[in-house]
Symmetry: C2
Amino acid sequence: MEHINYKEDTEALARFAKALGHPTRIAILMYLENQSCCFTGDLVEVFPLAQSTISQHLKELKLAGLIQGELKPPKIKYCINHENWETAKALFSSFFEIHVADNACTS
Amino acid sequence: MEHINYKEDTEALARFAKALGHPTRIAILMYLENQSCCFTGDLVEVFPLAQSTISQHLKELKLAGLIQGELKPPKIKYCINHENWETAKALFSSFFEIHVADNACTS
DNA sequence: ATTTTATATCGCAAATGTACGATAAGAAAC
DNA sequence: GTTTCTTATCGTACATTTGCGATATAAAAT
């Protein structure tokens, strides 16, 4: 597997996007937006997926930096990582801001 | 493979995110933002990837609706699909707007 | 110390993604 | 009609992702 070196922002944006690239993970984050936090078990009740599958999705979201886990033994409380959330938001926001000249498509 | 039925917006957002989930595709779209349009061959010169690989990435971006191809025989001119772009932008934008009460994380 | 509770990790199978070279397809130019 | 140019598609190899059940871990409660 060759690895091209893109600009750090490009890589970062792609990493965030990849983490968001599954409906279950989007739904988990939306749930977290409403609840502000939750335990793994809450999600297992909400989604028709095995506990191990939920845990795996949480792991990916944590790895991407979009959520963080806090130990509340014997549970783990997950919240959105607001700092990285803002970073992702800013990256997507600036990415989608296009300013194309209207007459540019003439070739 | 079980298929959970999420809300259409959730699915749509995940589809867009998935399409953006590779640095090469992000870079292609950034290139298109600057150039406003381009041919496949342009990209093959810019990226150290085989022509078939570039073509595959373009196919995915087209399938996701983020770009569109216009026949300019013998070439194909690719531009950003502005209508869907705005849709994606709106989806990401509203997704990232969180309004969490400060005192919510108390459980 | 054993049991209970909550979550993570392992091992597996199936599906999907990424990259390549080779080949096909389409239109233009000769 | 053959050649040329540009792009798409095919076939293949390897890596990653997604899902599950089973098992491990870690702390609390008994």
